[in-house]
């Protein structure tokens, strides 16, 4: 028969690598196409170690051509008409190659089918390297050449980008790899970051996530956390500027936390988990580097707290209590971040309570001192309940809501003990409240989340910023996207 490829506008391209047994196997097929008069270009990705075939092989060890053609597998045979790709076949399926080439008796002696090998463009880390090399123009950020002889990590310090710990230098390749973690356009704007109210886009978040040490799969969580702190209710400007201790704390609720390997168990609030450590840090770096929020500048914290390096953990879940995201009105199947203007961790030790009432009283006695024992309806708090404490409530059939209701009852505070001068302390609320009974926390100001290892009858209070609610900050929950 007369193959259709004899028309001058039809060409073929084959992309191969010598390391691939299938590419070696099908070499006679390529030879036959050339012998039949096909216009065939053969690109090799590694070495030209193939038998002589009568035409020069094309060197694609730079992978530039493979990248442009978006090759996933070798061998790939492409049909090009009028300069445009009209068809492609990957691996070796004899019938398909016969169809696409129009050579009906192509490679009759070869097996009918043999899968190909991965293209070198798909090797680990390679897609990002190739994107940085061949599509670097798609990035928006300014490129900076570090001076010769200067350690890039030291250079990052010198620019003032660091929170005090070493940063991963944000090379285009690393940023491209980070951006693989999201479907969103790098140029998509997320809002204005205080205090400078500078606009932040996805790419700038990715650059700071690289510096923080994040993996690409953490990026959607970082993006959600940035979105959450930029909401008006969270009041990031005031939280940064305050002389108070607080900084943004991130709780991840839902399966996404587990999928990216976050810790909600042993030492959940501590060190040692990459996702916990770097997601919280990335958020702080965005505030620092995009917003210009720096300690001693607009950040006026008298003491701050160690969580201002990073404060991020995942919620532990079981069937007994509703999750934080569901309490905030999200679907159980969703994954969310909740941001909270949090201080440090205050332990609650109770190794003896075996009934809910006793344990609630322990919690209430410890919660009273949030901010100051005489302060009411000011700071919010998160109570982090560990498994050994949670089981006391589970065994008695108490829901989380019931615990909160009982705590609210136990945390009604007598005005006569709270007013300025009472108990020998000048600190206190105005004397007009002397005869009133006041709640320690504003409506919705106390939240419960579960985390922690299976041993230890210790829970934790994370107190919040003294300016809560409309006056200052409210916890904000945002669903994690893709």
């Amino acid at each position: 028969m007369t193959p259709s490829h004899t028309e001058p506008a039809v060409e073929f391209e084959a992309v191969v690598k010598s390391d691939c047994p299938t590419c070696q196997l099908i070499w006679p097929a390529l030879q036959q196409l050339i012998d039949a008069g096909c216009s065939l270009s053969i690109y090799y990705q590694d070495t030209a170690e193939f038998p002589p075939i009568g035409v020069p092989l094309k060197d694609d060890t730079s992978l530039a051509h493979s990248w442009v053609r978006d090759i996933e597998t070798v061998p790939t045979l492409l049909r090009i008409e009028e300069g445009e790709e009209t068809d492609r076949r990957v691996g070796w399926v004899k019938q398909e190659w016969q169809d696409i080439s129009g050579v009906a008796d192509l490679a009759e002696s070869l097996p009918a089918y043999q899968p190909g090998c991965g293209s070198r463009t798909r090797e680990p880390g390679m897609p990002a390297r190739l994107r940085a090399r061949y599509a670097g123009d798609s990035l928006y950020a300014r490129s900076i050449h570090t001076p010769a002889g200067i350690d890039p990590i030291e250079y990052c310090y010198d620019q003032g980008w660091s929170d005090g710990l070493p940063l991963v230098p944000p090379t285009p390749e690393r940023v491209m790899a980070m951006l693989e973690g999201t479907d969103r356009d790098p140029g998509e704007q997320l809002g204005d970051v205080p205090p400078d109210l500078a606009t932040v886009n996805i790419e700038k978040v990715a650059i700071n996530a690289v510096m923080a040490g994040c993996k690409a799969e953490y990026l959607p969580v970082v993006i959600a956390a940035v979105q959450a702190v930029l909401s008006d209710e969270f009041c990031m400007h005031g939280l940064l500027a305050t002389t108070y201790f607080s900084g943004p704390m991130v709780i991840v609720s839902g399966s996404r936390g587990r999928l990216i390997g976050m810790n909600s168990g042993v030492n959940a609030l501590g060190q040692g988990n990459r996702a916990n450590a770097t997601i919280g840090r990335a958020l702080q770096l965005v505030i620092r580097n995009i917003g210009g929020g720096r300690p001693g500048g607009i950040d006026r914290a008298a003491l701050g707290n160690p969580g201002k390096y990073t404060f991020c953990f995942a919620e532990a879940e079981d069937a007994d209590w509703t999750s934080l995201r569901e309490e905030q009105g999200f679907r159980k199947a969703a994954s969310c971040v909740t941001v909270f203007a949090g201080d440090g961790v205050q332990g609650v030790v109770d190794q003896k309570s075996r009934d809910p009432e006793s344990l609630c009283r322990s919690f209430a006695a410890s919660l009273v001192v949030v901010g100051h024992a005489k302060m009411v309806m000011a700071a919010d708090a998160f109570l982090v309940i560990t498994p050994e404490h949670a089981r006391v409530f589970h065994a008695a059939g108490w829901s989380k809501q019931r615990v909160l209701e009982r705590l609210a009852e136990l945390l009604m505070r007598p005005g006569e003990e709270l007013i300025s001068g009472a108990l020998g302390m000048a600190e206190g609320i105005p004397s007009k409240y002397r005869n009133e009974l006041l709640p320690k926390f504003r409506e919705g100001g106390l939240n419960i989340v579960r985390a922690g290892g299976s041993a230890g009858m210790f829970s934790a209070i994370i107190a919040g910023w003294g300016a809560s609610g409309n006056l200052g900050s409210s916890p904000v929950t945002v669903e994690i996207g893709t």
């Binding site: 490129s143 990052c156 944000p170 005031g238 300016a467």
Partner: protein, 93 residues
């Protein structure tokens, strides 16, 4: 991978250079805004400042932010700029 090419992690903004307005030689006939950021006891400080300025011939106008935790609304800043020659802000409590 080489580390000598980096992407800028900052906003890439440069602060605009603004020249401060010349200081007035006298407060006579000037309108002075006293902006209370709503911190406790800021009003006590501003009351005191207000009476001192009034003795120097200034007209005092009082303004306040809804909450000290958020930047002043743009509308408020525009009103102050529109109605006053000078402004004093009470920051601390």
């Amino acid at each position: 991978m080489t580390d000598n090419l980096l992407l800028d992690p900052t906003s890439e903004n440069t602060a605009a250079q603004l020249r401060p307005r010349a200081k007035p030689v006298s407060l006579e006939g000037k309108t002075v805004a006293l902006l209370d950021i709503s911190k406790p006891r800021g009003d006590i400080f501003l009351n005191q400042i207000g009476s001192l300025l009034a003795t120097q011939g200034a007209t005092i106008r009082r303004y306040s932010k809804p909450t000290f935790t958020r930047p002043a609304p743009t509308q408020l800043l525009q009103r102050i700029a529109d109605e006053c020659d000078l402004v004093l802000e009470a920051l601390a409590d």
